[in-house]
């Protein structure tokens, strides 16, 4: 057959027409579309009956009530519990993402024992025997005080059990991580006497003067603070925010007052000076002050007159007078302290100076003011039985007042000052300043026991890990604190069977005590932690178990609180930064990350802006005026006396010139050879790697609000 042009075109056209009308093409496209979407490994969630269970979130000191939606026996969603006295329905992103912690790939699934630089699985019985054996040796050597313990908080029954174990063992060395609550207690002790704490009635205050407290950055009890802040508009209340950076709180405030980093104490004293000089104080309140109001007034006029304060803080003298007047004349003013989230480094001078403002205007124990209350005492443990070793050990002096002094002593001494250390709900190797030296101290301590649920920075330094249930798997009492106006105890309840071979740490402590035998075991005669909790919290158990919470106190406490101003009248020295570079590096808080405690969840990390974290680079904020030679979005090397890091640069007009801001809560390393949370790990830098501690003389607190730094193009 001859193929001419005509038949060739005819055939071609025919074929084209045939393909066009044939359904085969469309059918194949459709089939491939369906096929491409039916991957059998895309999960199909199993349906079931819907139910809701109430519990309490214990990821942060906020202690919000939560409602967990379940399908059959699977928890699928965490939401805020309505009508809960702390958060009334709202929830923060970390709590909502709480179920991601349950299935976290970096969870410690069974007890682990370190062998060389590797962890090996070990049974619970062997683990308890091993720990008890090591501890018994310590007692035999006659140095029980060389057992130390660090927990997240003082309050609560699990901390109570740890304290009881240490006491009956013979050690006074119980420590807590710095937290807003611990600072509130220290401040209360300096001005009002021991055994007290401070709370702020933010939901009623008509004027909030916040010295860098990140009221919507996660300070205090976050959801409660969000609510109090949001209702400001309706209540016609005002918020003035004093800090070097335009934080979200500053952006949301009625007025942002930029201040040179680390001079907040001086500003507070400058305001006190104006209030005293212009007779703006509450004379009924000051009449009962002890410690010399005249001495304070004289000291303030000499050192903190507006012009002098203006020089120190960078705020105009006229503005200082104005702020003092507005504050003192407001109907219900309150001055709020605890920079950032309030759980980082703080100086007692600053805390006490700011709280003196509250005392001067007489808002203590008044609606909308600052409440001074006794610490919560809802737990009643039976008397311990003590043997002679325990009595002798407990009488010894503590290694240091705070954990950072313990770290320093461990590193400085050639003899082991601490032989064994328990770590519960705390991650000091991540959240204390100069993490390198903290890790070094941990390596020097011969026997470290971690009770962590996750293979975090501190657990990795442990010799043995006795993993704890996460908060959705365990029973625990959760006392509020962190400046919340109400005192509430919530009950965290298991909403699911434990996913892994973990235990409630309360039970673990009881098992260790029993294995130690003798008077120690006699002090722990409970069958289980559940039984123990019901017993020691019997005073409030009915309402705890029925309602899921118990309100211990509400509203302004009756009566006034004694005020002693001698500490502040003595004009303690202001803490200075380490180093002599030109710029100042300060940590900044971001609600979507977590600075202390657990790492942020994959969901939370996902919400973080690309101006905070880009690929694996942390982005630092700097004013374009300061960023000479740097490019917005470019990389740079940030150097401090403690270390240096590769960073990306973000020009931010909300940053005070001369200051570099680095977000807290990145740079986690929740990974090892065979378990890793890659969604959260190895992203950015831990700001605590770059800032070293600066101990405030007198208080002994680590008060390093920042560090001198330099930055140059990488």
């Amino acid at each position: 057959m001859k193929v001419d042009r005509r038949s060739f075109l005819g055939l071609g056209l025919g074929a084209a027409a045939g393909i066009a009308v044939s359904p085969v093409g469309i059918k194949l496209t459709d089939d491939s579309a369906i096929w491409s979407q039916n991957w059998p490994w895309t999960p199909v969630p199993v349906d079931g009956e819907v139910s809701y269970e109430n519990s309490v979130c214990s990821l942060c000191p906020g202690s919000c009530g939560i409602s967990v939606r379940k399908i059959g026996d699977r928890p699928v969603k965490i939401e805020g519990r309505s009508e809960y006295p702390v958060n009334d329905g709202g929830a923060c992103l970390h709590g909502i993402a709480g179920l991601q912690y349950l299935y976290d790939p970096a969870r410690v699934k069974t007890p682990l024992k370190k062998n060389g630089d590797k962890f090996e699985e070990i049974s619970w019985d062997d683990a308890i025997t091993l720990v008890a054996g090591k501890l018994a040796d310590l007692r035999k050597k006659g140095s029980p005080e060389k057992l130390a313990c660090i927990a997240d908080k003082e309050q609560g029954s699990v901390s109570g059990l740890f304290k009881r174990l240490l006491k009956t063992f013979g050690s006074p060395n119980f420590y807590t991580m710095p937290s807003l609550e611990s600072y509130l207690e220290v401040t209360a002790a300096a001005l009002h006497g021991e055994g007290k704490t401070i709370a702020f009635d933010l939901e009623n205050a008509s004027f909030v003067l916040s010295f860098g407290a990140g009221i919507i950055e996660g300070w205090g009890s976050p959801v409660s603070c969000f609510k109090a802040n949001a209702s400001r508009k309706e209540r016609h209340a005002k918020l003035y925010q004093i800090e070097p950076r335009l934080s979200n709180t500053a952006a949301n405030a009625d007025k942002w007052i930029p201040i040179k980093p680390g001079t907040e104490a001086d500003l507070a004293l400058g305001l006190c000076a104006v209030i005293l000089k212009n007779n703006l104080f509450n004379s009924t309140a000051t009449a009962n002050f002890r410690g010399g109001i005249n001495k304070l007034a004289a000291m303030l006029q000499k050192n903190y007159a507006p012009s002098r304060t203006a020089e120190i803080t960078g705020i105009k003298a006229a503005d200082i007078e104005k702020i003092a007047t507005v504050f003192a004349k407001a109907k219900m003013p309150v001055a709020v302290f605890g920079k950032g989230r309030g759980d980082g480094a703080q100086s007692l001078k600053e805390l006490a100076a700011i709280h003196t403002l509250n005392c001067l205007v007489g808002n203590i124990n008044k609606k909308g003011g600052a409440f001074v209350r006794s610490k919560m005492t809802y737990l009643e443990f039976p008397d311990e039985s003590m043997d002679s070793i325990a009595d002798a050990g407990v009488a010894k002096t503590k290694v240091g007042r705070y954990m950072n002094q313990v770290i320093e002593k461990v590193n400085a001494s050639s003899q082991p000052v601490v032989e064994a250390l328990f770590v519960y709900n705390a991650n000091p190797c991540y959240s204390l300043h100069d993490t390198k030296s903290v890790k070094q101290a941990f390596k020097k301590i011969p026997f470290v026991v971690s009770f962590s649920s996750f293979l975090d920075e501190t657990a990795k330094e442990a010799d043995i890990i006795l993993p704890s249930h996460t908060f959705t798997e365990r029973l625990e009492d959760v006392p509020s604190g962190a400046g919340l106006a109400k005192a509430v105890v919530g009950l965290t309840k298991p909403v699911t069977e434990p996913v892994f071979n973990t235990k409630n740490t309360g039970d673990t402590v009881i098992s260790i005590a029993k294995a130690l035998k003798g008077s120690i075991a006699q002090s722990f005669e409970w069958e289980s932690y559940d039984e123990c909790l019901e017993g020691v919290a019997s005073e409030i158990w009915d309402s705890l178990s029925e309602d899921g919470f118990a309100v211990i106190s509400e509203g302004a406490p009756s009566g006034s609180a004694p005020v002693n101003i001698s500490y502040i009248a003595g004009n303690p020295a202001t803490v200075q930064m380490q180093g002599d570079y030109d710029l100042t590096l300060i940590p900044i808080d971001n609600m979507r990350l977590i600075s202390a405690g657990v790492a942020a969840s994959p969901f939370a990390i996902k919400t973080v802006s690309d101006r905070v974290l880009k690929n694996t680079d942390i982005v630092v904020e700097i004013n374009p005026l300061t960023a000479r030679g740097l490019e917005d979005g470019g990389t740079a090397t940030l150097t401090t006396p403690i270390g240096s890091a590769r960073v990306m640069v973000n020009f931010n007009e909300g940053m005070m010139p001369g200051v570099i801001g680095m977000v807290e809560g990145l740079g986690h390393t929740l990974n090892s050879k065979n378990m890793s949370n890659k969604y959260v790990s190895n992203k950015g830098v831990n700001v605590n790697d770059l800032i070293g501690p600066v101990i405030e003389s007198g208080s002994g607190l680590d008060a390093a609000f920042g560090i001198k730094a330099k930055i140059s193009k990488a």
Partner: protein, 287 residues
């Protein structure tokens, strides 16, 4: 069962930007409610699936006059020109995978119909739509927290905010079961972002129902805008605005702010244009 109640709803939202703290609770609540996956690196925001995304706005002034406001952006559930249901995305979808619900005002997304052409993503002026470039993958065991109310999506389809449509279905079923003939109480249908917001910045409800808070705040104008006949439902509250309102997409998400510079950022204006329209807030009739 025959549906006796056929009164059309028009579900919408108003977000108070003065209350919004940028905390991200709405984003996480949305992800957790709707089985949104996550991957190792989510810092490339173009491929990071966030049905609800919080943007940061600044007034562009230098230190210390800078101001910052956060703007949460769900799908705007556009009614299209004249509010007739011709949303930009619905108009371009060749597969009818996204459709306008005339009974609810909600723009749906049917994953099994979508074949991934992404025309809708190009058409959406709000970047509210996301493409699944990869199959979702949860760490071992974590798929146990997935909710059966929303199907996990597969590679190759587009997804977006549904105003938690499954919650609407549940509320509607509940209303019928209780003999309310489909009359859904305001509190029975609320989106996951609304209930999660710790600042109470998000208000959700039926824009057609004068009893609902969202209607009372927005006060939608029942007449077409006198300056642009394609714009319907313009707010008569001078503090309320919509994003790119003059396009006539007629979004059902409204924003509220006391600050003028924030309201101005809701659209792009030529020099002098803003001053001409900033005091124009719809017709004054129909109180």
């Amino acid at each position: 069962m025959k549906q006796e109640n056929n009164k059309a709803h028009k579900f919408g939202m108003v977000i108070d930007l003065d209350k919004c703290t940028g905390c991200g609770s709405c984003m996480v609540s949305c992800m957790s409610e709707n089985n949104v996956p996550f991957k190792e690196d989510e810092s490339n925001k173009k491929d990071s699936i966030t049905w609800m995304r919080v943007y940061k706005l600044t007034n562009g002034k230098s230190f210390p006059d800078t101001e910052v406001v956060y703007l949460p952006r769900p799908c705007q559930h556009c009614g299209g020109k004249g509010d007739h249901g011709h949303s930009p995305c619905v108009s371009v979808c060749p597969a009818t995978a996204t459709d306008y619900g005339y009974d609810t005002g909600i723009v749906s997304q049917i994953y099994t119909r979508c074949f991934g052409c992404r025309y809708c993503m190009g058409a959406c002026p709000y970047h509210a739509r996301y493409f699944n470039w990869w199959d979702p993958k949860w760490p071992e065991g974590m798929e146990k927290y997935l909710s059966p109310n929303v199907s996990p999506r597969m590679r190759g389809v587009v997804e977006k905010c549904s105003f938690c449509y499954h919650r609407y279905q549940a509320a509607r079923d509940q209303a019928y079961a209780e003999g309310n003939k489909g009359e859904i109480a305001e509190e029975n249908y609320q989106t996951a972002c609304t209930t999660a917001c710790p600042a109470g910045a998000i208000v959700f409800g039926d824009l057609n129902n004068p009893e609902h808070k969202v209607h009372q705040i927005v006060k939608p104008d029942p007449h077409p805008d006198t300056m642009n006949k394609h714009v319907v439902g313009k707010s008569r509250n001078p503090k309320v605005f919509r994003l790119l309102e003059r396009l006539g997409t007629n979004p059902k998400v409204y924003y509220l702010s006391e600050r003028e510079w924030v309201r101005k950022q809701g659209d792009n204006y030529l020099a002098g244009e803003w001053d001409k329209i900033k005091n124009h807030h719809g017709s004054s009739s129909h109180g």
